[in-house]
C-alpha cells in the first residue's frame, strides 16, 4: 500500500496544483484563438485572488468572493481589450503593464485595507470552498483499486477543482462545436474574412477577452479561497506564465493543453514530495531542476524538436478595418 498511496497522494496534489494552470490556460486558449496574446494571465490571476480573499473576508461568503474575483479579473480583461482591440496597442506590452499594475495594486490595497503587511486575514472554513465528498467515497473505500482511487484521487476536492476540469470539455465545445467558436477561430486566423462576412471583429475579440477574464477569475478564487485560506502578496507566483507555457506546449488545443497542465502540476507535486529525500544513484536532486522543467520543455518545443507549435495566424496583430 505504501508506494501505491504515495503515488495516489502525489496525483491528488497534482490535480490541485494543476487547477489554476488549467483555468488560466483555457483563458489563454480562448483569447489567443481569437488573435489576442494574453501575457496578462498572471496579473488577472493575482487581482482575482486578492478580490476573492478580500470579499470573502468581508462577507464571510466564498461565493461572494468568487463573484468579486471574476469581476476584478474581467475589469483587467476589459482594459486589455480597450488597449489592444479598440486602440490597437501592443498586446504584449499591455499584458506586461497589467501584470505590473496587478502586482503593485494588490499589495497597496491589501496593506491599506487589512494592515497585515500585504495579506488578508486568514479565512475560516465558511468563507472558503471546502472539499466535497463525492457519493461512495466512504462506502466504496474497501473495494480494491477503485476504492482508494475514488476516495483519495477523485473525491474530496473543492468545487473549483471540478469546475476547472469541466472547463476543458466546455471550452472545446464552445470553440469547436458552436457558431460563436467557428467565428472565434476565424477571427484569430483571418479577421478580414470575418469582417467581410459582416461580423464584428472587435466584438468577437472583446467577448473572447472577457471569457478569459471569467476563467482567470475562477482560478484566482481557487488560489486564495480554496487552495489557500487568504491572499498573500505575489501569490500567483508565475502560475500565469506556466499556463502560457502549457498553452504553447499543448499547441492551443484544449485536451493537449490539459495534459500539459497536468504534467506541470505533477512535476510540482513530485518536486514537493521529493524535497530532502535521497534518490537512488543521484542522491539529493535540487528541486529547482524539476521546477524549471516546464520552461525548459516549452523552449525545446519552440526549437521544433517535438513537432511544431503553430500559433493562430493573426495572433498579436491588431486588426485595421479597410476603408
Amino acid at each position: 500500500m505504501g508506494l501505491g498511496l504515495d503515488i495516489l497522494l502525489t496525483l491528488d496534489s497534482m490535480l490541485r496544483l494543476a487547477t489554476p494552470l488549467v483555468l488560466c490556460a483555457m483563458a489563454g486558449l480562448i483569447s489567443e484563438r481569437a488573435g489576442i496574446v494574453d501575457i496578462g494571465l498572471e496579473g488577472k490571476l493575482l487581482v482575482a485572488a486578492f478580490g476573492a480573499a478580500a470579499m470573502a473576508s468581508w462577507t464571510g461568503s466564498a461565493w461572494a468572493g468568487l463573484g468579486a474575483a471574476i469581476l476584478a479579473s474581467m475589469l483587467f480583461a476589459l482594459i486589455h481589450g480597450f488597449a489592444c482591440i479598440t486602440h490597437r496597442g501592443d498586446q504584449i506590452i499591455s499584458g506586461l503593464a497589467l501584470n505590473t499594475i496587478a502586482s503593485g495594486l494588490t499589495i497597496v490595497l491589501s496593506t491599506a485595507l487589512f494592515k497585515l503587511g500585504g495579506q488578508t486575514p486568514t479565512l475560516d472554513a465558511g468563507a472558503r470552498f471546502g472539499p466535497i465528498s463525492l457519493p461512495g467515497a466512504d462506502s466504496l473505500a474497501d473495494v480494491p483499486w477503485f476504492g482508494p482511487f475514488w476516495r483519495q484521487l477523485i473525491s474530496g476536492h473543492s468545487l473549483l477543482v471540478y469546475m476547472a476540469m469541466f472547463s476543458v470539455p466546455l471550452v472545446w465545445w464552445l470553440v469547436w462545436k458552436t457558431r460563436f467558436g467557428l467565428r472565434l477561430r476565424a477571427v484569430g486566423e483571418m479577421p478580414a474574412a470575418v469582417d467581410s462576412a459582416g461580423v464584428s471583429v472587435s466584438w468577437l475579440r472583446y467577448r473572447a477577452v472577457l471569457i478569459a477574464g471569467i476563467l482567470c477569475g475562477i482560478a484566482g478564487a481557487f488560489l486564495s479561497t480554496a487552495y489557500g485560506s487568504g491572499f498573500v502578496r505575489e501569490m500567483s507566483a508565475g502560475k500565469g506564465y506556466i499556463a502560457l507555457a502549457a498553452l504553447i506546449l499543448g499547441k492551443w488545443r484544449p485536451f493537449s493543453v490539459l495534459l500539459a497542465c497536468l504534467l506541470f502540476g505533477f512535476l510540482e507535486a513530485a518536486a514537493n514530495r521529493m524535497q530532502g529525500t535521497d534518490l537512488p544513484l543521484i542522491g539529493q536532486l535540487p528541486v529547482e531542476f524539476i521546477l524549471i522543467l516546464p520552461y525548459v520543455a516549452t523552449v525545446i518545443l519552440l526549437v521544433g524538436f517535438f513537432g511544431k507549435a503553430i500559433p493562430p495566424k493573426a495572433l498579436g496583430i491588431p486588426y485595421v478595418k479597410e476603408r
Binding site: I93, L98, G104, L105, I107, T298, L302, G304
Partner: protein, 360 residues
C-alpha cells in the same frame, strides 16, 4: 498614420503619459485616505533631500540605465527582450565567478575589468540563445525570454542554496568578493578628492552607465551596424532585400542587449553588495521596459527616464515609514500605468494631438 512634430512626440507625449499615470496613482492614494501631494512630497524628499538619498537615487538610476538600454537596443530592431531580469541575474553569476577566481591574486586594475567582462559575457550568452532560436528556428523571442527568466531563477536558486552558498550562514547567498575585484563606492573615493559625500551604495558603475549611453548612441546612430539595425526595425523584408544579413543581426542585437542587462549586475554585485544574493535583480529588468518605453528607446530619453524611476524607487521606500496605509509598491503601480500609457495606449493620443496641432 499622421506624424507629430518631434517636440510633441518626444516631449509632450511622454509628459501626458506621465501626468496620467501620476493622476491615477494620486486618485488611488486619495481614496486610501492620504493626501496625494503629501505623498509626493515624501517621495521627492526621500529621493533627493535626505542624507544619502541622492546617492541611492543615482544607484538605482545606474541599474535602470543598463536594463533600459538593453530593452532599447533590441527594440530598435523590433525585438522585444523581456529577459532583462534573467540576463542580469546570470550576469551576476558571471561577475561572481570571475571575481572570486581572479580577485585574490590579480591587482584591482586587472581584476575589475575582468569581472565586468564576466557580467557582460554571461548576460550576453543568456540573451544570445533566445536570439539564435528566434533567428534560426523561429522561436518567438518574447516567449523564450520569459522562459529563460524562470530558468535563470531556478538555476540561481539551486546554485546559491547549493554549491555557491557561503558556509556558516543561513541565507542562500554567495561567497564575498575580494575588495580588489569590487567597484569602489563613491563615498569612499570622494574624501581623496577633498569632497564629502554621504554614505550610499553609489559606485563607479554610475559613470560606466553614462559611458554606456554614449556608446549605445554612437553604435545605433553612427555605425553601419546600427544603420542595419534600424533598417531592420523599420522593415525586415526591406532590410533583407537590401542585403542586410537579418539573422546575424538578430543574434548580435540580442547579444548586445543581454550584455547591457548583464552589466546591471556590476552595479549591484561588484559595487553595492560584494556578493550575489537571491533575486538581486529585484524587478529592475522589468522596470527597464518601462524606462525604454518612456525614453522612446533613445539613450538620452533613457537617461532621463531611468533617473525618474530611480527617484521613484528610492523615494517610494520612504512611503513605508511615513504613512501607515501607503507602501512602496505604489511605485510599482505607477510603473505599470506608465507602461500601459506609453507602450500599449500610444495610439490613443497621437490622432487627437495631430488634429490639435494641425499637421497631417
Amino acid at each position: 498614420m499622421t506624424k507629430l512634430p518631434a517636440w510633441a512626440e518626444f516631449g509632450l507625449i511622454p509628459l501626458i503619459n506621465l501626468a496620467l499615470a501620476f493622476g491615477i496613482a494620486g486618485i488611488v492614494i486619495a481614496l486610501l485616505g492620504v493626501n496625494p501631494f503629501a505623498a509626493m512630497k515624501v517621495i521627492i524628499e526621500g529621493a533627493f533631500v535626505d542624507d544619502g538619498a541622492l546617492g541611492y537615487t543615482l544607484f538605482y538610476t545606474t541599474s535602470l540605465i543598463f536594463t533600459g538600454l538593453a530593452v532599447a537596443v533590441a527594440f530598435q530592431a523590433r525585438l522585444f527582450n523581456i529577459g532583462g531580469e534573467g540576463q542580469a541575474y546570470i550576469g551576476g553569476l558571471g561577475a561572481l565567478l570571475v571575481a572570486v577566481t581572479v580577485g585574490s591574486w590579480l591587482p584591482a586594475i586587472a581584476s575589475i575589468p575582468l569581472a565586468i567582462l564576466g557580467a557582460a559575457g554571461f548576460g550576453a550568452l543568456w540573451a544570445f540563445v533566445p536570439g539564435w532560436l528566434q533567428a534560426y528556428r523561429g522561436s518567438h523571442i518574447v516567449i523564450t525570454t520569459i522562459m529563460f527568466n524562470f530558468i535563470a531563477s531556478g538555476i540561481m536558486v539551486a546554485l546559491l542554496s547549493g554549491p555557491l552558498m557561503r558556509a556558516g550562514q543561513p541565507n542562500p547567498e554567495s561567497a564575498l568578493i575580494a575588495d580588489s575585484a569590487r567597484l569602489p563606492l563613491i563615498h569612499e573615493i570622494a574624501p581623496h578628492l577633498g569632497l564629502h559625500v554621504a554614505r550610499s551604495p553609489l559606485n563607479l558603475a554610475f559613470p560606466l552607465a553614462l559611458i554606456a549611453c554614449v556608446v549605445v548612441w554612437a553604435l545605433i546612430w553612427r555605425t553601419r551596424w546600427g544603420y542595419a539595425l534600424r533598417a531592420m526595425g523599420h522593415s525586415e523584408d526591406a532590410a533583407e532585400y537590401a542585403g542586410i544579413k537579418v539573422r546575424r543581426l538578430i543574434v548580435s542585437a540580442m547579444a548586445l542587449s543581454g550584455m547591457l542587462a548583464g552589466l546591471m549586475a556590476i552595479n549591484v554585485i561588484l559595487g553595492a553588495q560584494g556578493k550575489v544574493t537571491l533575486a538581486f535583480p529585484a524587478g529592475f529588468g522589468v522596470t527597464g521596459i518601462a524606462v525604454a518605453l518612456m525614453g522612446r528607446s533613445h539613450p538620452l530619453g533613457i537617461l532621463l527616464a531611468a533617473f525618474l524611476f530611480g527617484a521613484l524607487v528610492q523615494g517610494g521606500t520612504e512611503l513605508d515609514f511615513e504613512f501607515p496605509t501607503i507602501t512602496r509598491e505604489m511605485v510599482l503601480l505607477i510603473q505599470g500605468l506608465i507602461i500601459l500609457f506609453s507602450g500599449a495606449l500610444t495610439f490613443m493620443f497621437v490622432p487627437m494631438l495631430s488634429r490639435i496641432l494641425g499637421r497631417h
